[in-house]
Symmetry: C2
Subunit: 193 residues, 2 copies
């Protein structure tokens, strides 16, 4: 009858912009005015695409997860002799914090106590954990079966390693090179058990 609704497509276009804003500014400082400006829109136009700021934040979590998962899947496909786990470690060491996922986590945990946001984060970490468990198992395929620490704990420790790397980066505690070395050395040590 009239002009077609482009909302879904525009949401897809704007998600990266909004996610970046949340990652850079945190939840509170990413005001709806700031978000709109970065999107080149007015505030009410944003509110025609999402019902609330919280919904924009949830969309950002979803988006950043999808981006990272896609990147990792691509790294699995490319074979260069190293185990997939090693390739992912190397890539994360080089591009640590680039996606902003850890900053979204900090923002969600620190700035809200909203149950929806917490369960979105919970869900995201569970998915990463499951993925990494698969890679650790793959990497340890020909190790003796009682390798320690166990796969599940090792997978969490690897996520923690990435998080700490990001913090050393944000607080200028380590140089870029040392960050990469940390992910590599400690990462392999955890993988090998």
């Amino acid at each position: 009858m009239a002009r077609p609704n482009q909302s879904e497509q525009r949401r897809d276009e704007l998600c990266p912009v909004i996610a970046k804003a949340f990652a850079e500014l945190g939840y509170r400082r990413a005001t709806t005015a700031a978000l709109a400006k970065r999107c080149g829109l007015r505030e009410n136009q944003l509110y025609r695409l999402w019902p609330s700021k919280k919904a924009m934040f949830l969309a950002s979590i979803e988006y950043l997860y999808e981006m990272t998962a896609a990147k990792w899947r691509a790294l699995l496909a490319s074979d260069d002799g190293r185990s997939p786990a090693e390739r992912i470690l190397a890539w994360e060491g080089e591009h640590r914090g680039e996606s902003g996922l850890h900053r979204i986590t900090f923002a969600g945990l620190s700035e809200t106590d909203d149950p929806d946001i917490r369960s979105a984060l919970q869900n995201m970490y569970r998915k990463f954990h499951t993925f990494i468990i698969g890679q650790v198992n793959e990497h340890r395929a020909d190790a003796k079966p009682d390798t320690q620490p166990g796969v599940e704990l090792t997978a969490w420790a690897i996520i923690g390693l990435g998080m700490m790397t990001n913090i050393t980066h944000e607080l200028d505690l380590l140089t870029h090179d040392t960050q990469g070395q940390m992910v590599h050395d400690v990462g392999l040590h955890l993988l090998d058990g």
Copy 2:
């Protein structure tokens, strides 16, 4: 000439209350009204003790660091056969996140981009890192000198392990017991090199 100034003593009394509020609520949600209420004071009374909310936050960082450092020093003194590093790991595994230090970090990184806050956090992590390096060296005293990963990276990884444990706790990703096991198993694996 007149009534003596008790400000310093009152600051000392209120620091734990304020630090707890910042840890629980984050920076923005810990409003000056909320802080005053928890202290049993009016807002302007708080402002007679600290010049700004930021100063209260900085005092909280300092306070929580001192508390944790004191606890660790006490653990060093008590000898039960395990290495000091193991004792600290065990204690942190049991009391993870209790102090709220990691939440303060999240709040500082996510909710502000104030250079004073960042350098306070930077300073704090440097001190913890130095402390842990000492313990790792002690623990590895009779290991071969080229133990890998290096002491410095290992120390950062141990801090990262603690941080990840706190996140699994906050997001209900692991049970209390599994958290303790993670700190123990992965911690020892990192310590032993």
